[in-house]
């Protein structure tokens, strides 16, 4: 009996190991991209996550798209456009030979249908249980609140938008992947199931949906009737879902995948040194910052804030924790932004001056405890001290391109602060969702790490996102309110004069830097790792990267 069992086991092992590997599938040239997670959904209008967008970008197209490695919108489904003097009316001429993947034609009516669907909560396909988050954010809300008040098909291939107020970043908004156009017939036929794994998407792009196996893979294949040109040679795209960072690198090394985004910072030199692999950097369009909670009485003194800023050695942090090519940040807007980057603002490292400033502010022996101010019934900060707590520095529990290691950087930060006489505790606020929740409620009482990644390339979606509104006491972050800055940013938002907008954003950066309103640490580029056989991948600061330009050799 025992021998029979052994023989069986041996036979099994031989069978497992000896059978030759199955030859590649007959889908032609395949490009396999390693993803760290499942897409949330494939209905572009309702998703907010990068994985869904990368998938959708290959199959779904917008009216205009960011050109190559820039944040400048250029023609896509719209060939050309004109705008009225007051900026309230935009007319787009559409391409005439595009069809959706389901065979229905692409025309002005289809564009109108998509915008109406997003804009009007009464539209039958504006599903009540889904969130059209980006439309609301970029166009100020739905229905009457929407800045787009009307969309008309003025001819079969011409569509006209009417706005209630000029939008400086209108074209940039239209180029965002969430505003890619879906087939009205497909959405109507599938209802709320559109975009789920069973159904997928139906758009106009160079690749169409084949299958989505949850937590395993999403497969797209070449759209033979694509209206545009495909300069690369890929026939099949596979997004292979590999959650573990180390396993993804191993998969690249073993040839199971051709590319993936965001290897560990530690692994970047290893990949660059490898003969078969290489790294390409997506320019940093983000910022990592340390925010003050202005309910802390001590933080309302600009000298204390400046002391904290002076105590941090940004360059050392960048050299240690970021990929080579990252830069220390002095301002919120990154250097790669089209307008509004102010190179004159500098934030030096000077722990001695920090101590001096602390002493001037009345803390000659350093600072270990701080006072939290009470809020009144409307949520405004009062002068009453509610409690005294240790200084806390909250670290982010997740890695982001702008912050590759929240805990490591946090440890380094409290170390620097200690050298300048500020004895901060490193604190956590639970996992990412809990952290964001506490931050939203203004409950991160101390200093806290956070960052921002721009969506559309415009400074209004960068520094303008945070400081243009002072409507609520908590505002966008930590009870910071500056009416002067808000006024300037609102002016820039509706201006169509690029030079004037540039100057306003530069001035705002200078004003906020002078009072150390917030501490900017770094701009982190995103590394992408490739197998040598992949050529022609173009990185874009906004992450809208098209696989149609990619060529696979060998």
């Amino acid at each position: 009996m025992r021998t029979r069992f052994t023989a069986l086991a041996l036979a099994l092992i031989v069978m497992i190991l000896a059978v030759a590997p199955i030859s590649a599938q007959d889908g032609g040239v395949t490009f396999t991209f390693g993803e760290f997670g499942n897409p949330v959904q494939l209905d572009a209008a309702i998703v907010t996550d990068g994985i869904s967008f990368r998938t959708l970008t290959q199959g779904c197209e917008t009216l205009v798209e960011f050109q190559g490695d820039t944040t400048i919108p250029g023609p896509a489904l719209a060939q050309s456009w004109t705008t009225s003097e007051d900026g309230l009316s935009w007319t787009f001429k559409l391409v005439e030979n595009a069809t959706f993947h389901d065979g229905t034609p692409f025309n002005a009516e289809a564009v109108k249908w998509n915008f109406d669907r997003w804009r009007l909560t009464t539209h039958p396909q504006h599903f009540a249980e889904q969130v059209f988050e980006y439309y609301e954010a970029q166009f100020n809300g739905f229905d009457d609140a929407s800045l787009i008040t009307d969309v008309q098909a003025t001819s079969e291939f011409e569509v006209t938008f009417t706005l209630s107020a000029p939008i400086g970043a209108f074209l940039n908004n239209l180029a965002m992947p969430m505003f890619s156009l879906a087939s009205p017939a497909a959405v109507e036929a599938n209802g709320a199931a559109y975009g789920t794994p069973e159904v997928g998407f139906s758009c106009t792009g160079p690749y169409k949906f084949v299958e989505w196996v949850s937590d395993d893979r999403v497969v797209l294949t070449r759209n033979e009737s694509y209206w545009g040109t495909v300069s690369g040679n890929i026939d099949t795209i596979i997004f292979k879902i590999i959650p573990d960072n180390a396993a993804r690198l191993a998969a690249l090394q073993s040839g199971d995948i051709d590319a993936f985004e965001r290897p560990n910072v530690e692994d970047v030199p290893t990949i660059e040194a490898s003969e078969d692999l290489y790294i390409q950097l997506r320019p940093a369009f983000n910022v990592f910052y340390l925010a003050f909670n202005y309910r802390i009485k001590e933080f309302r003194d600009p000298r204390v804030r400046q002391a904290i800023s002076l105590a941090l050695n940004r360059q050392e942090i960048v050299d240690a924790f970021y990929v080579p090519g990252s830069v220390a940040a002095n301002t919120m807007n990154p250097p790669s932004i089209g307008i509004g980057f102010n190179p004159d603002v500098q934030t030096p490292f000077d722990p001695e001056l920090a101590k001096q400033l602390l002493a001037d502010a009345g803390y000659p022996n350093g600072l270990s405890e701080v006072n939290v101010l009470a809020l009144d019934a409307d949520g405004n900060i009062t002068d009453t001290v509610e409690e005294t707590i240790p200084i806390r520095l909250y670290f982010m529990p997740v890695a982001r391109p702008y912050n590759p290691d929240g805990e490591g950087i946090g440890s380094a930060m409290v170390n620097y602060l200690a050298s300048a006489g500020i004895n901060a505790e490193l604190a956590s606020a639970g996992d990412w969702s809990a952290y964001l929740d506490a931050r939203r409620d203004g409950q991160l009482l101390g200093l806290y790490q956070l960052g921002w990644t721009g969506d559309n390339g415009d400074p209004d979606n960068f520094i303008g996102y945070f400081f243009a509104s002072v409507d609520t006491p908590l505002a966008r972050e930590g009870y910071y309110q500056n009416a002067e800055v808000a006024q300037m940013l609102q002016e820039a938002r509706v201006s169509l004069d690029t030079a004037a907008r540039d100057q306003i954003y530069k001035d705002v950066e200078a004003i906020m830097a002078a009072e150390s309103a917030r501490i900017y640490i770094a701009h982190g580029p995103v590394p992408l790792a490739f197998n040598n056989r992949v050529q022609g991948y173009v990185t874009n600061p906004l992450g809208t990267e098209f696989f149609k330009t990619v060529t696979i050799t060998g």
Partner: protein, 327 residues
């Protein structure tokens, strides 16, 4: 041969006073313990761990906040590397020990902190967590299991269903949920892990109690008028001891590793303070690029701690339980 060695002290019992019996048992126990090689190895490891855990924090005042310097990020273990190079280098001359600096004997971590110091301090944290978890879950679990298994009835159904509920949820996820609700700290982490381990003990004790409650000697004890509680303590508990010790020794390791997982998720020991499992988890990104020391030293320490207590636990069980005493 077994029967003869065992029969003699039992016969002698009646004639001696209880104190003598205990002394004799103790002597017997330690003699058996001393003879076992795994007890020796385990004992040495466990003793060394205990010593280090007690004395490192006493002798070395460690301020994690002020430790570290980014330029020293991932500094290799200087003297070990130099020694290895001298051993395997082509040149015949051996490296002189005078020129050797041992600034980072175990290397430095991602923040340029001395791994040797952090391993020392992390050990004492991990060990206290492990012991604490074992004590809590052993006490509560055994009590519940004994009462449930022996008395049966409503208490058994209610408590065992409760144990099922706890067991039905992955222990780590349950611990995460508990800690997120109660707040992230080492103490809450310990309690959460302990709670998730209670069912294992409860069920184990219960199954022992069930299999014993119908045996002849319990029936006999009962008919002689012994109360339930007395029977539990004098009969069921000693008989359950062996599997409980096995489970406890295994749990010590599990607790150290689960604390690590909690620490990894930012829910256990708060950074920058060290804890072994957390150090291990932190070393993950450095592994592929060949920075072995970041994982090796904390990893080895954990393995040695767990191994030590497991070996010792094994030997203790053998020595404690005469029925397990082989030839």
């Amino acid at each position: 041969m077994t029967s003869t060695t065992q029969a003699q002290p039992r016969l002698a019992l009646t004639r001696r006073s209880e104190r003598d019996v205990r002394l004799e048992q103790l002597r017997d126990f330690s003699r058996r313990l001393w003879r076992s090689p795994s007890a020796k190895l385990g004992g040495i490891l466990a003793f060394a761990t205990l010593l280090a855990a007690i004395f490192v924090p006493l002798l070395d005042k460690y301020d994690a906040i002020r430790d570290g310097s980014l330029p020293a990020r991932y500094a290799p273990p200087d003297c070990i590397v130099a020694w290895l190079e001298s051993q395997f280098s082509a040149s015949p001359e051996k490296l002189s020990l005078n020129g050797l600096t041992c600034e980072y004997p175990f290397g430095a971590d991602k923040n340029g902190r001395d791994i040797m110091r952090r391993v020392g301090h992390g050990m004492s944290v991990s060990l206290s967590v492990g012991i604490f978890v074992v004590i809590i879950s052993l006490t509560i679990g055994t009590t519940i299991g004994l009462i449930a298994g022996f008395s049966g009835g409503w208490f058994e159904s209610v408590s065992m269903r409760l144990m099922d509920v706890i067991l039905a949820f992955p222990s780590l996820l349950l611990a995460i949920a508990l800690v997120t609700v109660a707040g992230a700290s080492l103490t809450n982490g310990m309690i959460a892990i302990a709670v998730t381990q209670i069912p294992t003990f409860a069920r184990l004790t219960r199954s022992m109690a069930i299999s014993i409650r119908n045996t002849e000697y319990v029936t006999a004890a009962r008919s002689l008028g012994a109360s339930g509680g007395k029977i539990m303590i004098s009969h069921v508990l000693p008989n359950s001891l062996a599997p409980l010790i096995v489970q406890s020794t295994l749990l010590l390791g599990t607790a150290v590793i689960e604390t690590a997982a909690l620490g990894f998720l930012g829910l256990g020991q708060q950074p920058p303070w060290p804890e072994l499992g957390k150090m291990l988890a932190e070393s993950q990104p450095a592994l592929a690029s060949g920075k072995w020391w970041v994982m090796f030293f904390p990893g080895l320490t954990i393995i040695l701690i767990v191994l030590g207590f497991n070996l010792l636990g094994d030997a203790l069980r053998d020595a404690l339980d005469p029925r397990l005493r082989g030839n």
